[in-house]
Symmetry: C2
């Protein structure tokens, strides 16, 4: 059969997989946004069945034959670019799933489920020892899996590659090291500063209906297209893509914490803009998603912190916010509002941390993960090293494991290598922003005039449209002319927070 004909067949095969994924995602969204509880168990049977179909199709001998055939053609010019990159993506997924013996994988899935339950109990009781044996088994199995998958320099690099293709321990040591060197003293100075930015006006009760209305308006202002999405309420905010014409966001409304819904919405909006602006050529392929977890997070953090927590943005939007919310902000100038939403203070819980302290939370986890897989660190010693690192980086120590080493679910589910993406996102974002300001010479004026679409256009042109066609490093070099350089992130934080806290 001619290669073109087989490319068409393969395209149909991939489309079928993506269609199943869309059906699964619709059902997942539905379960999270108000599906009645009595139907949930049977619904999970349906999701399991379709997930099994996807697993079967991505690991089948049909898939293997396609991959073997097309891999010979890579670089010959016989394949179009989308097929070529899709083949690489499918191979990664194939190896990920097929290199583990089935019985071991089944055992691992079961272990993770037990482990998550154990973690929940342990967290509730603040007792790490209840979780420890499960985590030990997970780490042991994961190390064995890395042997199956293979690794070059460091075992941990294999785990990193699942979330951040091309990222290595060497690179992370370098960039995290530099950031930490600047950030630890900066955070300490902020802690010791006499300047207080926090304002009680931000925690006045405000009706959910009004929060909803303002959230929708902000989404539109930021360029979110409601003809290609919708906003709903869930316990935990998330963004989910059903297809590029149907990119949904959710947020959580708390009456006396409007800022939570507002910045949660803006964060998810950043993710959503990425997905709404993917090239339609990628629909039906595994490339129709963000380049990596870190690049995705760069978009959400860019919108949440660099736009949503900038003074310029609120200079354009604040009058309308006051008009909408009436009494709520009437005693707060835009300057005071800007300062209040940038209040920074070391805290124990990662998901509540501010922009400035957040990367240090990630570094605590990164150091631990790295040492677990390539060093001598033992699971039993995690609580101690956690507390030591918290003190070293943030200057505070959890009083119990509940607000310490037990706070995140990730490790209980076997997700090692994921955390760094959260911090990388902010670093990528600063580098993109630096380049954007060179290209759009009137960047601040754009923000002040509320013409955000110019910024979104830049992001679409340079980042969004490519989806997974480019690896993170390739994208970064293409857009900014250099690999990850944390100078931009450090400069950004030092400049912003020195001014906010009158530091010298």
């Amino acid at each position: 059969m001619a290669i073109n004909k087989i490319q068409e067949e393969f395209t149909d095969y991939l489309k079928k997989i993506e269609n199943y994924n869309e059906a699964i995602n619709v059902m997942y969204w539905d379960l999270r946004t108000g599906a009645p509880k009595n139907g949930a168990e049977q619904r999970s049977n349906v999701i399991s069945q379709l997930s099994a179909e996807v697993f079967e199709m991505t690991t089948s001998s049909t898939m293997e034959n396609y991959l073997n055939l097309f891999e010979k053609e890579i670089g010959t010019g016989n394949l179009n670019e989308i097929i070529e990159k899709s083949v690489k993506e499918c191979r990664k997924n194939y190896d990920l799933n097929c290199k583990i013996p089935k019985n071991e994988y089944a055992e691992y899935v079961k272990l993770c489920s037990l482990s998550e339950n154990a973690w929940e109990d342990a967290k509730n009781e603040g007792d790490f020892s209840k979780f420890q044996p499960y985590l030990e088994k997970i780490v042991t199995m994961k190390k064995q899996f890395i042997e199956y998958w293979g690794y070059k320099d460091k075992k941990y690099d294999t785990l990193l590659s699942f979330y951040e293709p091309g990222m290595t321990t060497v690179k992370l040591d370098e960039v995290f090291g530099k950031v930490r060197e600047s950030l630890v003293p900066l955070v300490a100075k902020i802690s010791n500063s006499q300047t207080k930015l926090i304002r009680k006006e931000l925690s006045q009760p405000i009706s959910i209906d009004l929060q909803k209305e303002v959230s929708e308006e902000i989404l539109e202002k930021l360029g979110y297209n409601f003809d290609s999405g919708r906003l709903d309420e869930t316990v935990h905010p998330f963004q989910i893509t059903l297809n590029p014409g149907d990119v949904r966001v959710t947020t959580k409304y708390i009456e006396d914490n409007f800022m939570s819904a507002l910045f949660g919405t803006i964060h998810e909006c950043g993710h959503a803009l990425y997905e709404q602006n993917l090239s339609s050529n990628l629909i039906g392929t595994p490339l129709c998603e963000g380049a990596s977890m870190g690049i995705h997070e760069s978009q959400s953090l860019f919108f949440e912190n660099m736009i949503g927590r900038s003074k310029e943005f609120w200079e354009a939007q604040y009058e309308n916010l006051i008009a909408k919310t009436g009494e709520y902000f009437k005693n707060l100038s835009v300057e005071e509002f800007y300062k209040a939403i940038n209040h920074s203070r070391p805290s124990l819980i990662r998901i509540e941390a501010d922009e400035c302290t957040y990367p240090l939370h990630i570094m605590v986890r990164y150091e631990i993960e790295k040492e677990l897989f390539d060093g001598d660190l033992q699971v039993k010693d995690l609580p101690k090293i956690w507390n030591d690192k918290m003190e070293e980086y943030l200057g505070i120590v959890p009083s119990n494991d509940r607000e310490g080493v037990l706070q995140d679910v990730h490790w209980a589910g076997g997700d090692f290598g994921y955390f760094p993406s959260y911090a990388l996102g902010a670093m990528y974002a600063a580098q993109f922003k630096h380049k954007m300001k060179q290209d759009l010479s009137d960047y601040e004026t754009i923000l002040k005039s509320g013409e955000i679409h110019q910024i979104v256009n830049w992001l679409t042109l340079n980042i969004h449209q490519y989806g997974k066609l480019k690896e993170p490093k390739e994208l970064l070099v293409d857009v900014t002319g250099e690999e990850l350089n944390v100078k931009y992130f450090i400069d950004y934080l030092e400049d912003k927070y020195s001014k906010l806290y009158n530091l010298v």
Copy 2:
């Protein structure tokens, strides 16, 4: 392989089909309740793919082998009842789909799609001639399909059997004839009556939020379980079952027509109660739905008209309705309200017709369908016969085809044999109600005290739980001791409307 083992395999096979159906239904519900428009086209690809899987599984050689094997065992006691009935249901579906040559079926599907477009244009322009050639082709193809499917006495009986298993032209002629004999003079007397029941208070504007709140409360009063369902807003109200723990209803809110939302909701609630109360033993089989279209409609009409438009029900609920809606009904006594919601008058549009005139609309369509398939009626003569029958049965004549023969989409989509179920529903409902009043000696007291759960329990015990385990006739005989007897329906209407309109 032992027969038990094969039964298990077959059960898994059926479960898989029903799981696909659940996924399709979730996506359908989502499209109707607010999915963003830009994602709709790609979503329809996903629905098509899963529908094709279902079609493939229900018409596969695997299915045929199961059916051939199990059909030999029917009646031997080797199969459990659910398998035995499932086999019959699957066979019906298999024959329906496999007896038509594939190319003819494809042509027919295409034709229906073109025909629906032509119907829409023709309706907008009130010009039947634009629709006529399409309808002619559909009738011709449908007649050919009936040859493939086979028929006994009348061709039309085959079409009837898809919606109302066991129903025949002979039976319909008998029951519709009797009803018509009583109903035509009753409707004429109402038309000539000096009594006017309609009240302008019912069309005062009332906020959508309040309509929503009252609709939810009424659903709960009627026994709808919100842990197994939810209420949403759509352009056309419907009920959809994802699984028996997730049975959803929708309604339409119009500000100055609260009664539309209220009775629309109550109607869909009747359908939903049927589905929420199906036996959980039927989950994952083709029996996990209503016995027939007509039996399903008996439940919706029982709740809409026999409960929702009864005086006794409102004697229990009216005080609360007034309390909730404030000014809205303050000048209306419960007696006046009861009369106003039962206002009856011959009208041209079926879906706006009241309980009393509605069956006559169906009979116009039934007479036409019957003559198209087993008589000499030509499609070109439809407008004339339509208008003649309307005059004969309802005493009014449409001034154009838009409000006459072109009003319904059913024929444009090839749905012949469906209409009778709408009228049968009311007749079944009256017969069930008659029996229920014998079993629950204090039926009126139950309604007056709002203890609707006693009524729902009776329906669950006698009807709901069985799903498709029983055919309509079997169900009717088991519950009421006799086949369809329209005496109960005629008595019900004559009694109710004679009192309402002071007829002698």
